[in-house]
Subunit: 243 residues, 4 copies
């Protein structure tokens, strides 16, 4: 099979779907990993529509159980060929709470998805990528990776850890030709759940379009290896950002 292969862990109806469509449209075979087939259905259909149904696969796994991630990615590589691009896009549903309300179980569960699962995914593809001397590993992250939060502390703690993992992998394995990128989405996405959340305050100009974010991933994928970014920030032109 001569198509390049893109595996997406955490392939929901928002960014996951847009990524599946973008890379399928660019000629990639697509392997989708979510907890349930329903969870990836929109991404599956989008990938099939942008490319061909034959080159899309779904495999179930639970991001909080690293061995299931390993098996799913081995499965995808077995069916579609070695993975050229791994996108780790999983995250826990985040619910607001003040720090003192965090339970120990929630702290560990969030970490398992954000960090341990991300590591399991990277670990599943890195040895083959290093051997071939190329490959890309992209982590979807957020501004929460850069600052703590009085209202979403679990999310911040998880994303800080994910960023540390991403930097550590870069520093160890970039020299082998593996392009590792931490994407900081500095905004909310214009996805169904956000439209509901915003209600009357919904303003598409203030949000990132998932298709645009997927396009930015695609552009990063094309960076030549003497001019790589390892941390990429993405925000709408309307965003009043701080560093």
């Amino acid at each position: 099979m001569s198509q390049p292969v893109c595996a997406i862990v955490g392939a929901g109806e928002g960014l996951g779907r847009a990524l599946a469509a973008r890379f399928s449209g660019a000629g990639f075979s697509i392997g989708l990993v979510s907890r349930t087939e329903t969870g990836s259905a929109a991404a599956f259909e989008a990938a099939a529509a942008a490319g061909t149904r034959e080159s899309v696969r779904f495999v179930a796994a639970d991001a909080s159980q690293p061995e299931t991630i390993e098996r799913a990615l081995a499965n995808i590589a077995g069916e579609l060929g070695e993975i050229d691009l791994l996108i780790y896009n999983a995250r826990r549903e985040f619910t607001a709470c003040e720090p003192l309300e965090m339970t120990y179980a929630a702290l560990e569960d969030s970490y398992r998805v954000e960090v341990v699962g991300a590591f399991a995914a990277a670990k599943s593809v890195l040895p083959a990528m290093r051997e071939r001397g190329h490959g890309s590993i992209f982590f979807s992250s957020a501004t929460a990776a850069f600052r703590g939060s009085a209202t979403y502390p679990l999310y911040a703690i998880g994303k800080f850890g994910l960023r540390a993992l991403s930097q550590s992998l870069c520093k160890a394995y970039s020299r082998d030709g593996v392009h590792i990128v931490h994407f900081r989405l500095d905004c909310d996405l214009d996805v169904p759940v956000m439209r509901e959340l915003y209600g009357d305050r919904y303003d598409p100009e203030k949000l990132a379009d998932p298709a645009d974010v997927a396009e930015a991933y695609w552009l990063a994928y094309q960076q030549p290896k003497s001019a790589w970014s390892n941390e990429v920030e993405l925000r709408p032109h309307t965003e009043a950002w701080t560093c």
Copy 2:
């Protein structure tokens, strides 16, 4: 009992001991928390020598088991009075490994000590501090909290998480009068284990003296509440640092 109370979680023979001596010398009762009484023996003797033996307590707890931290700190508050200053100084023995060598168990264990244990300690003292409108919580951390590592990835991932926790607590509870500080030690400490590690390359001028670091904690403790630092960096004058 009218002495202020300082609790130190992770009270070994290095920085823990220096902190115990410094705050005991300043008139604090000292509560020491380590896994074993032997582990805190040097800190205990230093605190007793700098103050009085009667105002020093040891309570055993395992930083990777948050409930034991809670019990130990409740115990100290019961015996010595409400805790004015909590110093979380626990960390796992760090051993070098490249990222791909990390086990899932090691990733979780490191996080339990660096983040979950730190949270358990903070949670044990915060409600009383908020009620009284003052108190201080100090986290011992490192430059590893600011950058990933090809050789100590576990340490970096843990310290990033600790920094996110510290910032989140600041943003939620500073306004209640609780001074929360993340101390970034940007250097190795001049402690027995480092002297061994450095061997012939041992040069005390290149290392931070634990007594000096303890002095810097003491100075931070005295900051007035309209001019607080929440992230404090400390390094020897010989250090060629990067931000």
Copy 3:
């Protein structure tokens, strides 16, 4: 004239030349601005070779004299049409010195090129870009914008200022559709002057290929406006970086 227009201020034989070739090859008219025509000769020929000689212009200006920059860019817009992409790539020859050796004149001269000249260039194109609701302004910068230096303090002070300018412009004018990017080159470039400087230690694997950097600018130019990066880092895969 229906071609998009790219103006490059500081169009030498290294990155300037590669940028001229890349954007000319993509169908842009190219306006080159340097102190002397000789200084831009290599860039001129590269642009002519990648596109057509008719759509390349050279205009002389001195980056340390802001009015000359304004005139040069007005001149280019008059001849080639409104500028779609402005790349500010000028910098002073940097020579090593310790901080105490800096002269006041050198401090001011460096600032004039790095900050005042960059502002003059941005100011020359921003009003038209805001009116049309689109346009891109790219600043070539370096890791020196993120940390001071014991050996190149002038360069660091200049690049910090350039970064502050870039962020300030972003925060004021991104919402009008103008994409402003600070490119942090986290490496030396594989250009003639560096080959000489490195001598026996010259290793192309450790340096960024100017053509690759130009490609990365081109990719950034294509980011859709709900997913923009405003600070882009670029480094070779061999670089052992710190944040």
Copy 4:
């Protein structure tokens, strides 16, 4: 004369006055430098009241003219003895403007006060400090040194440059025993001009008390040299900060 000597460049009625009082009260001779004697009158009286009138001096200089700074500090050292602590506290009156409204003259003038004047002051005391193997140089700065601004771009550009200067001096001269600190005031100060500016919204709880900030400088001055901070952030406990 055996008292230690503190020189304050930019000694107005706000922070300058509080610093003069704090260090005079701690037994320092105080040298005050401002453009006019009237500008330092409040600081002079505060220093005299906290110590003795005999050990306070005023010398006029213009921070935008580096030679006048050099002469003023030489003058102070001649009269009071070698300077142990230099505090550079000068800044331009900052007025809001959007980036496109900045004039080239304002850009240069701001830089002269924020960076060139700060360098002139440091240069005046560094050689003697290095020879003696100790001394402290403190720069008053702000959060503006960490992020650009759509409304105060001049201030941000100046403070970025000041931070670069401070880091460069640290990296070159800390090893000689000189403690160099960039103070980031992450808040407005509770000073007369701010009370006016805030009007009805004036709330002392939200502002930093200059006496508290001066206390924090005093605490930093006491850090032992194996545990120095080179960048100190200060904010009121009520501040909702971002990194």
